[in-house]
């Protein structure tokens, strides 16, 4: 037997085996489909039932119906005869005429014949051993074991080659091959004649026309032609082969249509009932069957069909397409079974090389959405090669997305930057901006995100996030005026409270207090319960000396925020429950004069100190008269940009949720620490910095120690701060900053504990490295007072009052009015 022939026959076995296994499976569970499936199988095995609906069980009723009709026909004909004849006017056809049309009287003879003589059922024995899916043992290399096939059909001359010769004559190779395959499946001992291209003598023009209609796929017309001829020539015998081919052709159409309409069960039923459709000559049907299995939760069966194709079918394009199509509905494991059947050409190239890239893309794409999923290294390598050699951006974008979601922001930046040289899309901008931001490069991130900021909700969000991160750098970064202007515009248009709040702090920290107040006010307008913005607004109002506004803020927010309430009392402000909250204020707050305001023209709106900002309440109602209309951008800082290694690049709320932080933003522990600190969650920040400390990178370790110290200070853990400050050497600026704050906290703590001498010691030590601002000066004064040195105290109060300290002025009044030296105010506060 020729090898090809063996494939065809065994192929049929395999497919029928696949379907057979379905039957067995279905039979195991009592479902509604059982009947139809078993009926379909019976149809394919029954010797005289080419029609899928034909079921042996229906035969009795069919017979009785036929009998009754036969009895009734005579009377019908009589009735019809009684109808009067008609005229036929032009344009219309007259009625009525029940004149008996073609006489049905002979209908008993030939009508059942075609079905009975149809040999398509010869594929039966194949399906009689349904339980062994041949695909489960794919033969490789063409050495298939001969399956035991009983062939009931006698070999030799009974084979009807009419269709074969017709197709050969028409040059219709697809149908010719299908017919050869079909006949080979039916008659294993039959071989195609060598002379089949010889012209078939046309002896029957009507029949020739039927074959023509069939070969053109006009099955309805072919059916009509057959019926018309039978009506006029009841003795004519329809070639069984023609009927069989029509049945198969119609079922093929129906299968395609059902597949297009996503009626998967119908596809499977038709395939089960029409096994002769399932050959390599018509791979499209096999593909659709595989898809129908897959779409109806039978992925294993789908895999079996595709494995059958790759085991038996030879056409290289169809083999490749089989894998390509399977990618849409098979899982990775099933797909691997198909790839294992790849044939390697003489050049060493696998036949599926063209889809390897697609498969890598698919796996990497799936892994990009799931950080827990690691793409195979060979996929990464392949995609990297493809991305480099391509002129398109897609593969680079895919790699960038995968790496970013797998915490390799650096790699992600590289690929997104490559992608950007090839295309400029919102997706690339977004990926690049997030990756840069995760690397604490918010200025570049802002630049990357800017152009596409209005391309959609996702791009708007990324722009606001990175702009906010840029503003939140501590100490304030140098920002170009046009960048500051566009960030302020975007934040303002989006009514983004987080951004407004950070604009406020940026302005505040650079001495632009009026602008700060307006942005804090805007943040509160857009989000009424933003406590940090209220805190900032209170600070700004206080600094501007706007007593009315300040009092309003204290009244509204005091009951809700201890640190805001404490602002009304300088002692409390330093010695309160959360003393480290003051660390929200960089040094520039304590000593604004130290930071140079911007010199560029776009400084500020006219400074109207009065009440040109409203005070929104947490409930959203305004206490002030004027609504907020933000606002000019704060002037950018003109000082040299300070290294942002210690800055809070992660501000903007990115670390509020753990998953969001680690997966989306890709922050490392250090970034996360800064982020938490900026959210005033110092205890968690300490933990994050602790993790970050575990590194050999000296710079990173230094930053972690710095952050941990700040976090401890913020938490009021002064002794712990002193320890962590010593964990790594810091540069002078940071060392001074930390030492200053440690001493400040210790002085305040001692003062609050009535340990006046200790407080003075700490203040003395502190004054050697940092200027002593008024609040500490007043503590020093009261300490002198309590130690019995009212003159020293008074001298200090006078000095402080001279710089505008209202508390000092009050203290002087107390001293002047009380001969006994009342400990007014502060004593009450300290109990």
């Amino acid at each position: 037997m020729p090898v090809r022939g063996a494939f065809l026959v065994i192929g049929s076995i395999a497919i029928v085996g696949i379907l057979g296994a379905v039957f067995v499976r279905q039979a195991a569970t009592p479902t509604d489909d059982l009947t139809s499936l078993t009926r379909a199988r019976a149809a394919s095995t029954g010797p005289a039932t080419p029609d899928i609906f034909m079921a042996p069980t229906t035969t009795p009723s069919v017979q009785s119906a036929a009998d009754t009709l036969g009895a009734g026909r005579a009377s019908q004909a009589q009735t019809a005869q009684a109808v009067p004849p008609v005229v036929m006017p032009s344009g219309s056809v007259t009625l009525p005429s029940a004149a008996p049309a073609a006489a049905p009287s002979t209908a008993t003879a030939p009508a059942t014949t075609p079905a009975a003589s149809t040999p398509s059922s010869a594929s039966v024995p194949i399906s009689s051993s349904p339980a062994t899916p041949a695909a489960s043992a794919p033969a490789v290399g063409g050495t298939q074991p001969a399956a035991p096939v009983d062939t009931p059909a006698a070999s030799g001359p009974s084979v009807d080659e009419t269709a074969l010769r017709y197709f050969a004559q028409q040059g219709d190779s697809r149908r010719l091959n299908a017919e050869i395959a079909r006949l080979r499946a039916l008659y294993p001992n039959w071989y195609p004649p060598s002379d089949m291209s010889a012209p078939v003598p046309v002896t029957d023009a009507l029949l020739d026309n039927m074959w023509k209609l069939y070969s053109q796929g006009q099955y309805a017309a072919a059916r009509a032609a057959i019926a018309a001829r039978l009506a006029s020539d009841p003795n004519w015998k329809v070639p069984a082969d023609l009927l069989a081919r029509l049945d198969v052709g119609e079922q093929r159409d129906r299968l395609i249509n059902a597949s297009n309409a996503k009626q998967w069960e119908t596809v499977v039923q038709i395939a089960a009932a029409t096994p002769s459709l399932l050959t390599c000559a018509d791979v499209d049907v096999l593909w659709r069957l595989a898809e129908a299995f897959a779409r109806s939760d039978r992925v294993g069966r789908a895999r079996d069909v595709d494995v059958y194709v790759l085991t038996n079918c030879q056409d290289p394009k169809e083999r490749l397409a089989t894998v390509q199509k399977a990618m849409a509905y098979l899982g990775d494991a099933e797909l691997a079974d198909l790839l294992a059947l790849e044939r390697v050409g003489a050049n060493g190239q696998g036949e599926f090389a063209a889809v390897r890239g697609d498969i890598a893309r698919r796996r990497i794409g799936a892994a990009a959405k799931d950080p827990a999923k690691i793409a195979p290294p060979e996929d990464i390598t392949l995609l990297e090669q493809l991305a480099r050699s391509s002129t398109k951006a897609d593969d680079a974008v895919l790699l960038g997305g995968y790496l970013f979601s797998h915490k390799d922001a650096e790699g992600a930046v590289t690929w997104f930057q490559l992608a950007k040289t090839r295309a400029d899309t919102p997706e690339i901008a977004r990926g690049l901006a997030y990756a840069l931001n995760a690397l604490d490069r918010p200025a570049e991130a802002e630049a990357a995100a800017y152009r596409w900021r209005d391309a959609g909700a996702e791009n708007k969000e990324v722009y606001l996030v990175v702009a906010t991160a840029l503003l939140a750098i501590d100490p304030p970064a140098k920002i170009e005026p046009e960048v500051m202007a566009r960030m302020a515009k975007a934040i303002s248009e989006a009514k983004y409270p987080e951004g407004a709040q950070n604009l406020g702090w940026y302005a505040y920290n650079t001495g632009q207090t009026v602008a700060a107040a307006r942005w804090f006010s805007a943040a509160l307008t857009w989000k009424h319960d933003t406590e940090p913005a209220a805190f900032g607004l209170a600070l700004a109002a206080q600094k501007l000396g706007n007593k009315v506004a300040f009092a309003q803020i204290i009244r509204v927010w005091g009951p809700r925020s201890q640190r805001i309430a404490d602002l009304a009392d300088p002692t409390k402000q330093r010695a309160g429950i959360r003393p480290a909250d003051t660390f929200l204020l960089p040094p520039s707050i304590a000593n604004p004069a130290a930071v140079q305001p911007g010199r560029s023209g776009a400084v500020q709106p006219a400074v109207r100190v009065a009440s040109d900002y409203a005070v929104p309440t947490p409930e959203g109602t305004f206490l002030g008269a004027d609504a907020v209309a933000p606002v000019a951008a704060p002037a950018p800082v003109r000082t040299a940009r300070v290294s942002n290694a210690g800055g809070g690049g992660g501000a903007g709320g990115g670390c509020r949720s753990t998953t969001r932080t680690e997966q989306l933003r890709g922050m490392n522990a250090l970034t996360r620490g800064w982020c938490l600190l900026s959210l005033n969650r110092p205890i968690e920040a300490v933990d994050a910095f602790d993790i970050a400390l575990d590194t050999n990178d000296g710079k990173a370790r230094q930053d972690a120690a710095y952050g941990k110290t700040l976090a401890n200070l913020r938490a009021g853990l002064t002794d712990a701060a002193a320890v962590s400050a010593a964990a790594a050497p810091q540069d002078t600026r940071r060392a001074v900053e930390l030492r200053t704050e440690i001493l400040t906290q210790r002085a305040i703590a001692a003062y609050a504990d009535n340990r006046w001498t200790e407080a003075l010691l700490y203040l003395d030590e502190r004054s050697q490295i940092a200027p002593e601002q008024n609040d500490l000066l007043i503590i020093r004064a009261w300490s002198y007072y309590h130690l019995g040195k009212p003159r020293e105290a008074k001298r200090l109060f006078v000095a402080a009052a001279g710089t505008g300290s209202r508390d000092a002025a009050k203290a002087l009044a107390v001293l002047a009015n009380s001969q006994q030296g009342l400990t007014l105010g502060d004593g009450r506060d300290r109990r």
Binding site: F53, A65, P104, Q218, A221, A227, A231
Partner: protein, 355 residues
Amino acid sequence: MNAAGWLLATVLGIVALLPNEGVAADTLKIQGTISPAVWQAYAGRFLDPSGRIIDDANGSISHSEGQGYGLILALAADDRSSFERIWSFTQTQMLLRSDGLSVWSWRPSEPHVPDINNASDGDLLIAYALAMAGRAWQMPRYTAAATAIATALGKTSIVTAGDNTLLLPGVEGFKADTRADGPVINLSYWVFEAMPVMQQLVPGGDWQKLARSGLDLIAASRFGQSELPTDWISLHDSTPRPAAGFDPDFGYNAIRIPLYLVRAGITDPAWLGPFAAAWRGGQTRGLPLINVETNQPAATLAEPGYRMLPALLDCVSNGTPIPPDLKIFTPTHYYPATLYLLAVSYLAERKPQCL
């Protein structure tokens, strides 16, 4: 005679009494009741060579109902060739649903089948035509196909609601759990003449109960002054009422109800009375569609195919001959032309004296 007893005797007598004998006198034979010339005029207009019946008033789409009518009329013309043509198309292009029913519509443009839902009257008409043709022409494969569709309809579309057995208009969208006012029915989907035939194909089916409920519901659905049913009826409450979201009209659908009653041999005035009254003179003045809430005509249909329906009722009720101008078949559009031929087929078989 009460309704149920009458029904049993006339509509379903064949099933109850004569399961294996000849066809009862009240069952239509259909075959050979339309002349080849008339059929050619119809087929030339509405039967595409591909085998689909074209609804030329609705964007030249086809629907399962049209395929069913085409099959019935091909049988009436005794045209086996056209029957094969229509059935081949129906089977390969529309009988796609996994539950064994037909999709309700087919568009000439891609995708041909945008909506997979079915229409149960289309399925019923197709099954009926196949069953009748299977008998007439001794074609077991038609009978087998009819049995399969009848079985599928029984499984998917015949439901019990209270005392009633209902034919859901489609598998999706009409039940109580998918509509606030569900179940919603369409009484013109009750092709009464088909029900005994279906019962014979599927002896265990509920077709007998379905026919009985259909008559009860027609009797209970008398809305407005004209006491006529609307096309779409809600059975959510204890009494039927016009369904929400549809015009409250005795409309294009419902005008088939008296046609189907007559064809099933149900000619008693107890059933046809309101229809005959509303249509009096309609064979000349036109067929009125009636809004049962305003009691005003929603439209008056003048095409001869529509006017044939009042003429049919007048013949059946009073023996009035068909007016001369309606004796000439003038195909206008698919739907009235189809109604016309269904009426003519009946008249030729049962009331030739009116023609």
